[in-house]
């Protein structure tokens, strides 16, 4: 036990660094996937058939294959096949490749949630806007958007919480996120080896962070309760 208390500060410091990388990937993914998902949703709803078919094909491929494969391909393909390692070297390059993979993957999932949300807003809302002389963008941003957001908060919450945990997949390309940091103490790092207890600590980080997110998303849902 005494050994653990000596090792604890070292482990926590290392996990903190890993968790920072987890958080960075989480927020970068959301920032990119929220708007990109909307673009993809509009693409798949487009009345221009080739565009909607192409978008649906991309969504099918991205949702139909494991994110882990996408990570590996996006990270290694440019360097190994094209002999052009566009991501750059080191942790920064891995982070960039991971961000691109995550943003694309989550944008595809988000797009379907957006689409469902937009299509669940009654057509009468758009028609009311049209007869009042509003433009299509005005109708979307002033009328449809908030009604859509209200409807998609519960399914989005699911995706967001899943994303927190999915960020750990990035360790497949050796991104030094929190599980990579925790696992390092099993192999040996900072003079500690064969220790499995740091992994339990990583779980606590996830639990607490997801607890906070659940609370915030619940509040957002409540806040949108002012209309029906």
């Amino acid at each position: 036990m005494g050994q653990i208390s000596e090792q604890l500060p070292i482990v926590v410091e290392s996990l903190n660094i890993g968790f920072l990388q987890t958080l960075k990937l989480f927020f970068v993914t959301l920032t990119g996937a929220f708007p990109l998902g909307l673009v993809i949703a509009f693409g798949s709803m487009s009345r221009f058939r080739p565009l909607s078919y192409l978008t649906k094909l991309i969504v099918w491929i991205i949702r139909g294959t494991p994110l882990m494969i996408q990570l590996l391909i996006i990270y290694y393909f440019p360097g190994l096949v094209l002999h052009n390692p566009i991501w750059g070297s080191g942790e920064a390059g891995r982070f960039l490749a991971a961000s691109v993979s995550f943003i694309f993957n989550y944008a595809c999932y988000f797009s379907e949630i957006y689409r469902g949300g937009i299509q669940s807003v009654p057509i009468g809302q758009e028609e009311a806007g049209l007869v009042l002389g509003m433009t299509k963008p005005q109708i979307f941003f002033k009328i449809t958007l908030l009604q859509m957001i209200k409807r998609i908060v519960p399914p989005m919450s699911n995706e967001i919480i899943t994303l927190v945990k999915d960020t750990s997949l990035a360790r497949i390309i050796a991104l030094q996120e929190i599980i990579w940091a925790g696992q390092a103490f099993m192999k040996g790092s900072h003079g500690i080896s064969g220790a499995i207890w740091p992994l339990f600590f990583t779980a606590v980080y996830y639990l607490i962070f997801n607890g906070i997110l659940t609370m915030l998303l619940g509040r957002l849902e409540k806040k949108l309760d002012y209309f029906r």
């Binding site: 009468g124 009604q147 209309f227 029906r228």
Partner: protein, 266 residues
């Protein structure tokens, strides 16, 4: 001869193989109200939707104040970007209100006017004055609808009759030349229809030009200067209310009106 404010000529509209409107022609003078009656599926709603550019007629012409807004044979009148401005000649009150749920009664009434004001060249300079003006106008309209105490309520906090009156205020805020009603009381509980009909009655007394699709025969007779009876996509008969309700010339009109006798609607 007074120039009509609205002229509808030879409007035809089909959905797939079904002809919904067949050669519809009528006109309306400024300050007058026309009621369109007829059974469900006779094409009344489609006609209103054509006037508001929610549907595009296959044939025909729509003129407002002698300006041709739509001519099926003239592609230049069908340009999407110009249609938005043309819609502003008309207002439309829907059967099921379609209020924007996230906005209060007042915000519902102000929204479109505010967005339009942003297109004015002097908007930036006079932003505050314009906003105040729009707000005052919306408040006056809601007061006119008897909703002065409901301005800050959201649609779900209002009764159906109140919602419909907000919808009327919202349509009036844009000062349309012609206000259209699509069965404005059909979605309401019977005890709430009176308050909406009273409001429309007052508008008629104030010489608002209106096209009213309704199943309330007594109301149509009372409020309209002109009645159009439609059946199966054609105008069977049109004329003064006293003539249509008192001495219908067509057998089909008689049959239709007979259906309403003794139902309390007439």
């Amino acid at each position: 001869m007074i120039m009509p404010i609205l002229e509808v000529e030879h409007i035809c509209k089909s959905f797939h193989q079904t002809e919904v409107l067949k050669d519809i022609t009528f006109s309306l003078e400024k300050g007058q109200a026309v009621s369109i009656i007829g059974s469900s599926g006779s094409g009344k709603t489609t006609l209103l939707r054509c006037l508001n550019f929610l549907e595009t007629p296959d044939q025909g012409i729509i003129r407002v104040n002698s300006e041709t807004l739509f001519d099926a044979n003239d592609p230049s009148t069908r340009i999407e970007s110009a249609i938005r401005k043309k819609r502003l000649h008309f207002g439309l009150v829907f059967q099921s209100f379609h209020l924007f749920p996230q906005y209060t009664a007042l915000e519902n009434t102000m929204l479109a006017t505010e967005l339009l004001a942003k297109e004015r060249p002097d908007y930036k300079a006079k932003k505050k004055d314009i906003h105040e003006e729009i707000r005052a106008q919306a408040e006056a309209l809601l007061a006119q609808m008897g909703l002065e105490n409901r301005m800050d309520n959201y649609p779900h906090q209002l009764s159906g009759g109140q919602c419909q009156r907000v919808a009327i205020a919202r349509a009036l805020a844009l000062k349309p030349d012609i206000l259209c009603f699509d069965e404005p009381t059909s979605a309401l509980d019977p005890e709430l229809t009176g308050e909406v009909l009273r409001v429309i009655r007052n508008l008629a007394d104030g010489n608002t030009t209106m096209v009213i699709v309704t199943h309330e025969m007594a109301f149509a007779k009372d409020v309209a200067n002109h009645i159009i009876f439609m059946d199966n996509g054609v105008i069977v008969e049109q004329g003064e209310p006293s003539q249509i309700f008192g001495h219908p010339a067509e057998e089909r009109t008689r049959q239709f009106l007979k259906g309403y006798m003794g139902t309390g609607h007439f």
